[in-house]
């Protein structure tokens, strides 16, 4: 049994392909990231580019959920939600920042390429990128920072969208993106809240100006920068989600990605802590950490957070993978569930990895032991979801028909 299989999830939902993919990605994480990060500890970033090329292009994750007709592997059905969980857990165990980039890409793909609902114009426009064997399809999502207030505005005129935003703060990859998925207001609906849309903008579109990359807490593979859209133009068909439910659909997939990436980071933290607990001795007590009641109780709580987080994330994957049973990903109940799972899992991770660091004291704080990297990265995943206080307004609206905003 591998270290992380002891945390249960519903294996019957995984296909043979999911299991084999997860196995491959586990090897990728072991060989391309974890084995090499000791040797490259002073310049971790150096290992990321080759590792990402292998993952996106050679293993082909950027083609995985993309339709066959447009150069992909054709796993573009809702079932891919479960595949995505299995994959992101493994990728994130190696490097959480790469998992965030994949989550962003798959969230955008989910709303342009879902089987039976393909947006052919968009698929055509991005076939070269997502089907590419040599260009990384780095995707940057520009989402509301504060719940339902988009950072960008879109206007449709003469068959083209024009996108406006000043110094928007993307979720990730503002500096490197090959494609932007911009959630905008201005889609022209009369229904309150429904006037939102997602425009997919190729990075080469005119009017996109990237600022200087900024420094941040973690997420080494993500070079982020503010981005301005000065009447950036996209053909009408590149509006890949229109209306609240469609936009929420993309967010539900993103939240699933965030939750699965967090679980992967938790696996890594568990492995590091387990090794410590097996070997480190509290000399004054003559006990290893795992055998001292006080420290083992903290370790136990870490395991509890991981177990429950994984179970919740797999359940969410299942819900999104079966719209026939649970309804579309963007339906209010599913969206709120996705938001809740992502919030719960990222808050759990803050507690669990913080607790693991307590156990390891200075080793937990040192770059060399790698634990602190997962702590910084999972906190970043949490803040990507926006303020928790505002997310709670979504919960209250759904469960109590609250009008609080």
């Amino acid at each position: 049994m591998s270290e992380h299989e002891i945390f249960p999830c519903m294996y019957e939902w995984l296909t043979d392909m999911d299991v084999s993919l997860a196995g491959n990605l586990r090897r990728w994480a072991d060989n391309e990231v974890m084995a090499r990060r000791l040797e490259l500890k002073e310049s971790y970033e150096q290992l990321l580019e080759p590792a990402m090329r292998q993952l996106f292009l050679e293993i082909g994750l950027q083609r995985l959920l993309w339709p066959e007709k447009y150069g992909g592997d054709g796993h573009n059905s809702p079932k891919a939600a479960v595949t995505m969980v299995a994959a992101l857990e493994q990728v994130s165990r190696g490097d959480t920042s790469i998992a965030l980039l994949l989550s962003s890409m798959w969230a955008l793909q989910s709303c342009m390429a879902m089987e039976g609902k393909e947006n052919h114009e968009a698929c055509e426009a991005f076939a070269e990128l997502f089907g590419s064997q040599d260009t990384l399809a780095i995707t940057s999502l520009v989402l509301p920072l504060f719940r339902d207030e988009p950072q960008a505005r879109a206007k449709l005129a003469k068959g083209a969208w024009s996108v406006e935003a000043k110094s928007a703060r993307p979720l990730a990859s503002g500096a490197d993106a090959a494609v932007f998925g911009v959630l905008c207001s201005g889609a022209g609906s009369d229904i309150p809240g429904d006037e939102v849309c997602v425009i997919a903008l190729p990075a080469a579109a005119k009017g996109i100006k990237r600022g200087k990359p900024f420094l941040k807490t973690g997420m080494a593979a993500d070079r982020n920068a503010p981005v301005s859209f000065d009447k950036a133009k996209a053909p009408e068909g590149l509006c890949v989600a229109r209306g609240l439910e469609a936009c929420r659909g993309m967010l539900s997939w993103l939240y699933l990605g965030v939750a699965a990436s967090t679980v992967g980071a938790l696996f890594a933290a568990y492995e590091i802590l387990k090794e410590w607990g097996d070997n480190r001795v509290i000399k004054g007590k003559g006990q290893t950490f795992k055998n001292n009641p006080l420290t083992s109780s903290v370790m136990a709580e870490v395991a509890r957070e991981i177990s429950v987080s994984r179970m919740l994330t797999c359940d969410l994957g299942r819900v999104l993978s079966e719209p026939g049973i649970y309804g579309p990903a963007g339906e209010e109940g599913n969206f709120v569930l996705a938001e809740m799972v992502a919030n719960t899992v990222t808050l759990s991770a803050e507690k669990a990895i913080g607790g693991a660091m307590e156990m390891m004291a200075s080793a937990g704080y040192a770059t060399e032991w790698n634990l602190e990297r997962y702590w910084r990265d999972t906190k970043t995943l949490q803040v990507c979801l926006g303020p928790y206080e505002l997310a709670k307004m979504d919960y209250a609206r759904y469960f109590y028909q609250s009008e609080a905003r």
Binding site: F146, K216, G354, T367, K379, C384, E389, L390, A404
Partner: protein, 422 residues
């Protein structure tokens, strides 16, 4: 408009030097540190940006001299009855700008405590080491080398373990101590240290308090090797590394006080270390408040400043409440260390246990507060531009050091519930 000065301090027992010193340090923080601190992480090895600020504070303004007697060029604070309260304020103000600088600053004085503070001044050693700190305008660093590869917490767990796990040995050879051992992590190591205070045993494996020795070792003594600074999650302004002591010879009087006494006063160092940890966290939190105030005022949501959202206001209240309580507790703790006539000796079981309680309470709250503040900032929470993520990264180690929360819990439970084995 409210400011950090609206958080309560017990005005009736501030030190007489409080107002002038606070002003100087706050100006220094605002001008010499805050404008540069976002680049500190990349400067962790060289300290090109950090060093000039240290030089100004400690060398030019003379803050590295505060504990030494006045006739030796110091400020004589070690002989005052307000040194802990004054130190608390200084650590709080420095940490508002950068808690890594806060700890580096405080640790300069940490080993010196043993020889410069009443009622256990070691005049001979003060005379010996005063020139290092008092006759220069450059920053000079002292370090307290306790932690060893096999563990730091056990060494700090004096009441139960009583030094029996210390592997750094000191053997008397004629009129010299010969020291051998490997230490790691001391603040102000990583190549910058001028004077080490080294926790040693005179008989490996012994739990006799008489065998616990605290010996001063100037960093340029033959046989001392400092490794490069480690890379870590935060606290770039504090350099930490390995130190090897190989047949290092120092004069016999470099032992701080002698059998039994060294361990006694080492406990005082632990108490002060915990109290000042409250100040590091409390100071950083004051700046978290300042930055957060700015953010929630400038940022609008639904056409109003974010802070006017009722649910957000609830979190802001929790954050302010924690900062308020931590500040009151921290000053109270410092005052207790100054009024030994009322609260007993600083090395006594009571003050050691209580300072651990304040420290781990504060650190748990501080991590929660900074984590919540980052969350309120949405994606900006992870950007260095808003500084709060820096405090979050820096403060985590304050929670972990000095034996971590679990050692704190063990000592607090032992004191309040009369435990015998934990």
């Amino acid at each position: 408009m409210r400011t950090i000065d609206d958080f309560t301090r017990p005005l009736e027992y501030l030190s007489p030097m409080d107002a002038p010193l606070r002003k100087v340090v706050r100006e220094w923080a605002d001008n010499e540190v805050i404008p540069h601190r976002r680049k500190f992480d990349e400067d962790y090895e060289e300290h090109k940006l950090i060093e000039p600020a240290f030089d100004k504070l400690m060398g030019e303004y003379g803050m590295q001299r505060v504990l030494f007697p006045s006739d030796l060029g110091g400020w004589g604070m070690g002989g005052s009855n307000y040194f802990a309260t004054a130190a608390y304020m200084l650590c709080e103000e420095v940490s508002r700008a950068d808690s890594g600088m806060g700890v580096a600053f405080a640790v300069v004085h940490w080993p010196l405590l043993l020889i410069c503070v009443e009622p256990h001044v070691n005049r001979e050693l003060c005379e010996e080491f005063a020139p290092i700190f008092c006759s220069t305008t450059k920053a000079r660093f002292a370090a307290n080398a306790m932690t060893e590869p096999q563990g730091g917490a056990d060494i700090e767990n004096m009441d139960i373990v009583r030094g029996s796990t210390i592997q750094t040995t000191a053997v008397l050879d004629g009129d010299e101590w010969v020291i051998n051992g490997h230490k790691l992590w001391p603040t102000n190591s990583g190549g910058v240290c001028d004077l080490f205070g080294v926790v040693c045993t005179t008989r490996a494996g012994s739990n006799d308090p008489d065998d616990f020795a605290f010996i001063f070792v100037p960093a340029d003594t033959p046989g001392v090797t400092q490794g490069p600074p480690y890379q870590k999650a935060g606290m770039a302004a504090d350099k930490n590394g390995d130190i090897w002591f190989e047949n290092v010879r120092v004069p016999r009087p470099y032992r701080a006080h002698g059998p039994g006494e060294d361990l006694k006063y080492f406990k005082e160092m632990v108490a002060l270390g915990n109290t000042m940890s409250v100040a590091f966290a409390g100071g950083a939190l004051l700046n978290v408040y300042e930055r957060l105030y700015e953010f929630v005022t400038e940022t609008t949501y639904k056409g109003q400043p974010l802070k006017e959202h009722d649910a957000v206001a609830g979190v802001l209240a929790d954050i302010a409440t924690d900062i308020e309580v931590i500040r009151v507790v921290g000053y109270q703790n410092a005052r207790m260390l100054d009024r030994t006539d009322l609260y007993g000796p600083r090395w006594g079981e009571e003050l050691v246990a209580k300072s651990r309680a304040y420290k781990y309470y504060t650190c748990d709250r501080a991590m929660d507060v900074t984590g919540k503040a980052m969350n309120l900032l949405s994606n900006y929470g992870a950007d260095r531009d808003w500084d709060i993520e820096k405090h979050w990264r820096d403060l985590k180690i304050v929670q972990l050091w000095l034996g971590g929360k679990q050692l704190g819990q063990a000592e607090v439970a032992r004191f309040f519930f009369d435990l015998e084995t934990v």
